[in-house]
């Protein structure tokens, strides 16, 4: 089997793609956003509850899309829960760097990180948007 495909579709990606975690809508939320990839029609809706100390207390997503976009959203929600917003914004930057193939200056994601599994996307430039859809939606939700 092709190495690039194995890199792209690691077990954890297929698993989260099929059985996404934190799927649905937060019972109470104070931030939300819809994301849409107009090129392919993939959609994601994100709800968050952020407390007074800027901690992400709860985060859930729903939507439809390919394994990469669903797995990425699922892994993102796992990672962001409990994080402070300022830290989460650094993760956004690190993640978008990672999937574009630049991993020199990552401060919040390392090789043991589950998000690192999405690194294989860098060899499929047309799929970068799939991997970053949830993260861009998260960024938009913060403006909410």
């Amino acid at each position: 089997m092709n190495e690039l495909l194995k890199e792209l579709y690691q077990e954890i990606i297929l698993d989260h793609g099929k059985e996404p975690r934190n799927f649905g809508e937060c019972e109470t939320h104070n931030k939300s956003a819809h994301g849409h990839n107009p090129l392919c029609g993939d959609k994601v809706s994100l709800t968050l509850f952020v407390d007074d100390d800027d901690i992400i207390k709860d985060i859930k997503f729903s939507g439809e899309g390919c394994a990469i976009s669903v797995a990425s959203a699922s892994l993102m929600t796992e990672k962001l829960k409990g994080k402070k917003l300022s830290y989460a914004e650094n993760m956004f930057k690190d993640f978008t760097d990672l999937v574009r193939g630049s991993e020199e200056s990552l401060s919040t994601i390392d090789e043991d990180d589950s998000l690192y599994a999405l690194k294989g996307v860098k060899d499929f430039p047309m799929r970068v948007k799939c991997a970053t859809l949830a993260w861009h939606t998260f960024k938009n939700a913060l403006k909410d």
Binding site: N2, L5, Y9, D42, C66, A67, R127
Partner: protein, 410 residues
């Protein structure tokens, strides 16, 4: 079996890109001609030569190069005229794309023949290019858009279509060949339009390189297509319009080349076809399209049709045999295009998997979001053929689909 209808593989040598290796090792299997066709060497060479030896602006000077460019540009128009059997050269307008052609018709047809409350009929399987220009009219002027239903087999529901027509219906804009189903429009649709005095625009993007086009037989008022899907360059599109309509409708854009006389108070407009060609047109691209048409004529339109019919039948049969694949539409009315999904695998995964095998297919909504909604899916994969594809490539593709399913569904 069907071999005698298949174009000989040597034709592939006409297309330099087909010898490209994907990821350095895999032979390219190009199954995305519906998105854009590859270019034969003659088209590539002629474009170069045009710039090297003949290029200047057209219809704007008396020097040698201007004459040489203009001759080639106008020659291309004649080639298009013959290619689609239009009555007159005046009925062939060059644009930058089919998309621009549709925008041109929507705007100018409205200006001449429609007003608020008038109705337009589209179908649920139109490309966004044949939706949004009409949506603009709805938003700006309050025209009403009605959508004809699509049957399971991927065709316009004729009864429903007919029931949508009222005295206020002014135009129907429909795909001649669906870019999702590969289905050809039923002649009944055009006769219903005729009978009811409804103008009809056919979107020929997918048919121009795959069917014999005769705009007089089709009885359409407008026919549009893009050069890049007919083995020509991008940046050139065609609008065919009946001369009487093009004469009556107002110009689309204003600029050089489309004027008669200009004073500080007013302007008069040029005769057809210049009236609709404001500004410097896509000159070399028009010439390239003319060469692409020559190329298709040399191969033989009949031969191309037969070849693609055999490929399509063969592929449809082979793919139908895979129980994990769902094909949209049926086998009878189908030309060069097959859209499908593998159960429980998103089209992106299929497309990325096939790409690594060297196979280029399209994944996504194919610019047909209303149709995707109608089908209850978010996307499909699509293979589409050109005259250079082979039966062997279909076999490679089918094997790859089986491997793809095994990879994702363990």
């Amino acid at each position: 079996m069907i071999k005698d209808k298949i174009i000989h593989k040597d034709i592939r040598k006409d297309f330099p890109i087909l010898s490209k290796k994907i990821l350095k090792t895999k032979d390219l299997v190009y199954f995305d001609t519906a998105a854009s066709a590859q270019k034969p060497q003659v088209v590539i060479d002629e474009l170069n030569q045009f710039y090297e030896r003949h290029y200047s602006n057209v219809s704007r000077g008396v020097h040698t190069l201007s004459v040489e460019s203009t001759l080639r540009y106008e020659d291309a128009r004649k080639k298009v005229q013959n290619f689609i059997n239009a009555k007159s050269e005046n009925e062939i307008i060059f644009t930058k794309s089919a998309t621009e052609s549709i925008n041109l018709v929507a705007q100018t047809f409205y200006d001449k023949y429609m007003s608020t409350g008038d109705e337009i009929i589209l179908s649920l399987m139109e490309h966004h290019s044949n939706l949004i220009p009409w949506y603009f009219l709805r938003d700006k002027y309050g025209v009403v858009i009605k959508f004809a239903n699509i049957t399971e087999s991927g065709e316009i529901d004729i009864n429903h279509f007919e029931s949508l027509i009222t005295p206020k219906t002014k135009i129907a804009a429909l795909t001649h060949l669906s870019n999702v189903y590969g289905s050809q429009i039923d002649e009944k649709v055009t006769s219903i339009c005729k009978k009811n005095n409804v103008a009809i625009l056919l979107d020929g993007c997918q048919s121009a390189a795959h069917l014999k086009i005769d705009v007089q037989k089709l009885e359409c008022d407008f026919f549009v297509f893009s050069g890049h899907k007919t083995y020509g360059p991008s940046g050139i599109g065609v609008l065919y319009g009946k001369e009487s309509l093009l004469d009556e409708m107002p110009p689309y854009q204003g600029g050089g080349g489309m004027i008669g006389e200009v004073t500080t108070d007013k302007a008069s407009y040029a005769e057809l076809p210049a009236k609709y060609e404001a500004g410097t047109p896509p000159i070399a691209e028009a010439h390239g399209l003319g060469i692409a048409i020559d190329y298709m004529n040399n191969v033989g339109i009949e031969n191309i049709i037969n070849h693609e019919e055999e490929l399509t039948k063969y592929a449809y049969k082979k793919i139908s045999e895979l129980d994990f694949v769902k094909i949209y539409g049926d086998g009878d009315n189908r030309n060069s295009i097959i859209s499908f999904n593998i159960e429980n695998i998103h089209s992106h995964e299929v497309s990325s998997f096939l790409d690594v095998e060297g196979i280029a297919v399209r994944a996504g909504h194919h610019c047909c979001q209303p149709l995707m909604k109608h089908l209850g899916v978010n996307s499909t994969s699509r293979l589409s053929f050109g005259l250079y594809n082979t039966i062997e490539e279909v076999d490679i593709f089918v094997n790859a689909l089986i491997k793809c399913k095994e990879f994702f569904i363990k």
